[in-house]
């Protein structure tokens, strides 16, 4: 696979200072009134409502799934979120609530979050999740292999998991916080897309550094350039650390300025988040009622 190596190492290097300055500059845009209302509704429709805790119970997953379908029970005009994201063991529970609602069901798989397991375990994990009713699979790449330069192993794993997914969409988690450099983020993005990823996702949310604007900017540039080269469009999902409406709107501005309208849809961009949804709902309520909303009026999970 020297082709793969030459492809990845032939990518132009990332201008660290430039990308951080660009992301920071785009983060200063002010979005108000009707534009803000549209941004909030779009952001809600892009949320992958996530619970990935050891303490997840069927009851919590059912409640979260119900919330995904109707995030604000007091306001029927509030849209549903894009998907619910859970551990494979919780997939059947979530599936029973989400059937025929239009809300997708994503499951993490492949020994999430570390990815340190043999390939057949990862594939069994994936097949179980799909069999349980998940129509989206969030896999983690083997960062250890990637950082050691064993791109072929990472590539083959993604191809194998993609095959195990069948019709389910495959999101590939790069865990950018563990990749070390922006150049690695760009390489891992291309590696995942070349191997067949439908989405590339920043993080598991389980390491201290999760989604950031610069990393997402690099990934957006990668999907843009990948489509220009191959004609295939790939989605992007920042996950972890996005908690406020302000953050979410910054990401929407970033999409609009980097890849344009084609990605401004839940089919091509997602937020992996849990507490973000409540902040979006509070801001939405503020816009409709005219006074500030409080967290006591929204469910915790």
């Amino acid at each position: 696979m020297s082709d793969l190596r030459s492809l990845l190492h032939g990518l132009p290097g990332v201008d660290k200072v430039g990308v951080e300055a660009r992301a920071a500059a785009l983060g200063t845009r002010s979005v108000k009134t009707s534009a803000k209302a549209q941004a909030i509704d779009l952001a809600i429709r892009m949320v992958d409502l996530t619970t990935l805790e050891g303490a997840d119970t069927p009851g919590k997953v059912r409640a979260l799934s119900a919330k995904a379908v109707r995030p604000d029970p007091a306001d029927p005009t509030c849209p549903s979120v894009a998907a619910v994201c859970v551990y494979p063991a919780m997939v059947p529970v979530a599936a029973s609530v989400l059937r025929d609602t239009g809300v997708h069901l994503a499951s993490v798989a492949t020994a999430f979050p570390s990815g340190q397991a043999p390939l057949d375990v990862k594939l069994a994990d994936t097949r179980d999740a799909v069999a349980g009713g998940a129509d989206e699979i969030d896999m983690v790449i083997s960062r250890g292999a990637f950082l050691a330069g064993d791109y072929t192993k990472v590539f083959d794993e993604i191809v194998a998991v993609k095959e195990a997914c069948g019709d389910a969409h495959l999101k590939v988690i790069l865990e950018t916080g563990e990749l070390g450099t922006y150049d690695n983020v760009r390489r891992a993005s291309w590696l995942a897309m070349t191997a067949g990823a439908d989405f590339i996702k920043t993080s598991t949310g389980k390491v201290p550094v999760a989604a950031t604007l610069p990393v997402t900017l690099i990934m957006l540039e990668a999907v843009r350039d990948f489509r220009a080269r191959t004609g295939r469009q790939v989605g992007v999902k920042p996950a972890g650390g996005i908690r406020t409406t302000k953050d979410a709107v910054k990401y929407l501005v970033l999409i609009n300025e980097t890849v344009g309208d084609d990605w401004l849809s839940p089919d091509w961009f997602r937020f992996g988040a849990s507490s973000l949804l409540n902040d979006l709902l509070m801001q939405r309520t503020k816009l409709t009622t005219g006074h500030y909303a409080g967290p006591d009026y929204f469910t915790l999970d």
Partner: protein, 268 residues
């Protein structure tokens, strides 16, 4: 030698233990000094800071909260000269310090006075104890004594406050006292500017639990705020014209306390 330039002070807001300018960038002149003019978004940020600080402050022991309020009194005493230079009479500084010490003492006594062991017809201990209401919006009077007389009773019981004031020099000097008195950041937040502009946002805010209108002189505005506060069933205190030198009694403290009653089986 050129004459040394006088370094003048800008009175900024006090939010979450820091002294930021208004997010709006606005300032206004008060008696020749520049002061930040708070906007509704400053009020919003202050409520977030107050809410964040509230659980830990309420969970501190009453003894500890009393010590902190006593420390405020010590620090006001130390800043006597500065308050005097702002036109606060020495007698009023005395009264403010005394008032702080008085409330500090109430911290671990209020529960005994307004709490109770209730006699009930059954094999139960039935205990009533006061608990803080939460985040309280306070429209403060302009004087130092007035300010202390509305802030101290609210915080000594475990509430956190967002204070609106039209007297930046005195209020922000007191904020500087608070910042150096072991009062955790966010327990007291001070916004300077026009109450008519910011108070309605506090009154209607879903995450504010109480509203003290002592500093509002415009009766129509006060009524409007009471109406807005009713939307979320806030506790509202509107004592009208107050003589702050008189004994305040317990009302300023009990206005922002909830009553919790616990039934506990006995006699097994």
């Amino acid at each position: 030698m050129p004459e040394r330039l006088h370094v003048r002070k800008t009175y900024k807001l006090y939010v979450g233990g820091a002294f930021p300018r208004s997010e709006s960038g606005r300032t206004y002149l008060v008696d020749g000094d520049n002061a930040a003019l708070a906007s509704r978004k400053d009020a919003r940020d202050a409520v977030v800071a107050a809410r964040k600080a509230q659980p830990k402050w309420a969970a501190a022991t009453a003894y500890n909260r009393g010590q902190v309020v006593y420390r405020i009194a010590e620090m006001v005493e130390a800043r006597r000269a500065e308050f005097k230079s702002l036109g606060v009479p020495g007698k009023e500084v005395d009264a403010a310090v005394d008032r702080l010490v008085w409330y500090a003492g109430w911290s671990d006594k209020i529960a005994q006075v307004i709490g109770n062991a209730n006699p009930v017809a059954g094999p139960y201990f039935n205990l009533t104890a006061p608990e803080p209401t939460g985040v309280v919006g306070v429209v403060a009077p302009a004087s130092l004594l007035g300010l202390v007389s509305v802030v101290a009773p609210a915080i000594v019981t475990g509430n956190t406050v967002v204070v609106l004031t039209a007297a930046p020099q005195v209020a922000i000097t007191l904020a500087e006292v608070l910042a150096t008195s072991d009062v955790p950041g966010g327990v007291v937040n001070v916004l300077t500017g026009h109450a008519a502009e910011t108070a309605p946002w506090l009154a209607s805010h879903d995450d504010v639990n109480g509203l003290d209108l002592t500093g509002i002189e415009d009766a129509e505005l006060a009524t409007e705020l009471e109406r807005a506060a009713a939307g979320t069933l806030k506790r509202v205190r509107r004592p009208g014209v107050t003589d702050f030198t008189a004994d305040p009694g317990l009302a300023p403290m009990t206005a922002f306390l909830e009553t919790k009653t616990v039934w506990h089986p006995k006699g097994f």
